[in-house]
């Protein structure tokens, strides 16, 4: 653990989990012409969505423009973020102050709700602090996370993503046993590209995925249950944090928090899409279901189910529902589902092969 590595981690963390989400939330706010979403809600989705989109962008870059210099890939992302910030500067400023205002409004000791929000926020901060302590002190040791991290090193080394019938790396002898898409792995690749600009090697950001996405899950549950009663929302914080499954998942680095957040958000966005029928909700549903599918094979089947449920339950005539289902399918493919199409026809065959469990 060196000071430089920690400084780089803080910068990268801020870019990935604060700046990029702020930009994405501002973009969504701009699209949300009917004001269907609050700033806080958009920021929660963007908090998890923006890093996933950065990973998706790297995935496409490595797939479509492989073999460029080490600097090209991080520079492309930083450039994209800078350009977006420039074009969205007014919305970003507005979103930022709206969020500050919301925080002030909701975190106060003058009302029962305010006190409960403060209690929840204090709990979340404690979980965050504990998680960050782990990030700084606990290395990657478990099998699955090391599979992801090692494959990420290979993508970083090759600066290319090639679809192969067998994901065997001849140079190292490593065999990637994973069945799912590479989105989560790309977050590690992003960190390695960023670190390579400063000649550093560390995996703090990759370790922090579990902590940050876990907190986003808590926030999502709290946000939604608060609409019914703040006391219930506060109880949800306690019930989730005392559940042995959630505790274990918080303590062991894995893809789980990442994929569960994406899936949970997709379910909520599907409900919103069915309820309100607005285009932004459909777009968001696709934007979250795609990465959810890419992150884990369960997400692929869930995405199929979402399309089917939307088709069955949304308002409108048959043609309108078909259009919505096709639109949704296209967005899901573009935002991560495409991996499986390529993998089936030009790669390992995905689930259509003899599957071994490690």
């Amino acid at each position: 653990m060196t000071g430089t590595a920690i400084a780089a981690y803080i910068v990268l963390f801020s870019v990935t989990f604060l700046i990029a989400p702020l930009i994405l939330a501002s973009l969504l706010r701009k699209i949300d012409l009917q004001d269907k979403y609050s700033s806080a809600e958009l920021f929660i989705y963007a908090g998890g969505g923006a890093p996933a989109l950065i990973a998706l962008f790297i995935y496409y870059l490595l797939f479509l423009i492989p073999g460029m210099s080490e600097l090209f890939y991080p520079a492309a992302i930083i450039l994209l973020l800078m350009l977006s910030s420039f074009f969205l500067r007014k919305q970003i400023k507005k979103m930022f102050f709206e969020l500050i205002e919301k925080l002030k409004e909701n975190l106060n000791f003058s009302s029962r709700e305010g006190v409960m929000n403060i209690l929840f926020a204090a709990g979340v901060l404690m979980v965050f602090a504990g998680g960050q302590y782990l990030v700084l002190h606990r290395p990657l040791v478990e099998h699955d996370i090391l599979e992801y991290a090692t494959q990420a090193k290979i993508f970083f080394r090759d600066r290319a993503l090639e679809y192969l019938p067998l994901r065997y790396d001849e140079l190292s002898g490593f065999f990637y046993v994973g069945l799912h898409g590479f989105l989560f792995i790309m977050l590690s690749v992003w960190e390695q590209f960023f670190n390579s600009c400063f000649g550093l090697e560390s995996d703090y950001l990759f370790r922090s995925m579990t902590n940050v996405y876990g907190i986003l899950i808590l926030l999502t549950a709290y946000y939604w249950l608060r609409k019914i009663d703040t006391r219930l929302a506060l109880i949800s914080g306690a019930v989730l944090m005392l559940n042995s499954g959630i505790i274990t998942t918080f303590l062991v680095y894995h893809v789980d928090m990442f994929r569960i957040f994406l899936l949970m958000s997709s379910v909520i966005l599907m409900l919103k899409a069915i309820n309100s029928g607005d285009r932004l909700s459909f777009l968001l549903l696709g934007i979250f279901s795609g990465p959810s599918a890419n992150a884990h094979s369960i997400g692929v089947f869930a995405a199929f189910a979402f399309v089917g449920i939307v088709f069955l339950l949304m308002d409108g005539n048959f043609l309108k529902r078909v259009r919505a289902a096709l639109f949704l399918s296209a967005i899901i493919l573009l935002f991560g589902g495409l991996h499986y199409v390529v993998d089936i026809f030009n790669g390992t065959g995905w689930i259509f092969k003899d599957i071994k469990f490690y």
Partner: protein
């Protein structure tokens, strides 16, 4: 509904919870059965446990998913019978059911697949409980129920997180009749929140001169070797007896039952003189375990449980 009826209902719920938990804990804690370490390790070694930890794991795999999820089953039935579903509630239920049945049929053996629905399930459980309390006009008495849920969860955490040995070690001890030395040490040092990196082993492996003949390592499903040493290895998983090369998937032991021939193959064809494993992993394949005992020598042992053998 008067206060006496409300408290009686709460009391009945608590009693039902205690009865169900007692029944399920008894089945879950029953002694191991059979000799398949994989099934034992996954907690699906008996028919009862296959159902509780496996197919219905989301509700009854208490160790990894908490002990209150099952309450959603009776509550959802009650909710459906007394309330009219809104369209979004129906959509939520259908998607939840779809994922549940998918995991139940295709991923029941893996706790990680079962955990997929955990936050949604708990959120639904709380939402439905609250709505039902509203429907039956409960006041603040409802908080007794939520407090009770929290107590149940704490009890479950204490029960499982304070148990001394790891599940794999217990399973190994059951199958082989002993806990090997080193494994006990590993268990002692092992904590979920501070699982240590095999620093000594990594250093030892890095120091192996790649110019030496047979300096290659067969790596028994330990990707940390690749991640931390950056050296080349032969990826192997003893449970399936499969190793990987540019020609694809190969069997290591099948067809090489003579251990001398197997050792020669490892040295001459794979150019490997070492096998990196853990005591825990060796237990997944008795033949591999025997080969290690007969034809290998312990070269180095890391306090975290990693072991390196040299092939004789």
């Amino acid at each position: 509904m008067n206060w006496l009826q409300r408290y009686s209902i709460l009391f009945a719920i608590f009693l039902l919870c205690l009865l169900v938990l007692n029944f399920v804990y008894n089945l879950l804690d029953a002694p191991f059965s059979g000799t398949d370490i994989n099934l034992i390790n996954r907690g699906i070694d008996t028919t009862e446990r296959e159902w509780l930890n496996g197919y219905l794991g989301l509700f009854f795999r208490f160790k990894f998913l908490g002990n209150i999820n099952w309450l959603l089953l009776p509550l959802i039935i009650l909710y459906m019978s007394v309330m009219k579903f809104k369209k979004w509630e129906l959509a939520a239920l259908i998607s939840w059911l779809f994922i549940f049945f998918l995991v139940m049929s295709k991923g029941y053996f893996n706790m990680r697949y079962q955990i997929t629905l955990l936050p949604l399930t708990l959120t639904m459980l709380l939402y439905i409980s609250w709505k039902l309390f509203d429907f039956y006009k409960f006041g603040n008495e409802r908080f007794l129920y939520f407090f009770f849920l929290v107590i149940l969860l704490i009890y479950n955490d204490v029960k499982f997180f304070t148990s001394g040995t790891s599940k794999t070690d217990e399973a190994l001890a059951h199958v082989s009749g002993e806990i090997k030395s080193g494994t006990t040490e590993h268990t002692k040092n092992y904590t979920l929140w501070m699982n240590p990196k095999p620093v000594q082993m990594i250093q030892y492996l890095k120091n192996i001169d790649p110019q030496l003949p047979n300096s290659g390592v067969i790596v028994n499903n330990l990707p940390s070797y690749y991640y931390y040493t950056g050296k080349k290895g032969v990826y192997y998983w003893c449970q399936d007896d499969v190793y990987y090369s540019k020609d694809g998937e190969q069997k290591l032991m099948r067809g090489r039952e003579d251990f001398n021939a197997l050792a020669a193959f490892i040295r001459d064809s794979l150019q490997c003189g070492f096998i990196l494993s853990t005591f825990q992993f060796e237990g997944y394949n008795p033949l591999f375990d025997k080969f290690i005992q007969d034809k290998c020598r312990l070269e180095f042992q890391d306090p975290t449980g990693y072991v390196l053998y040299s092939v004789l």
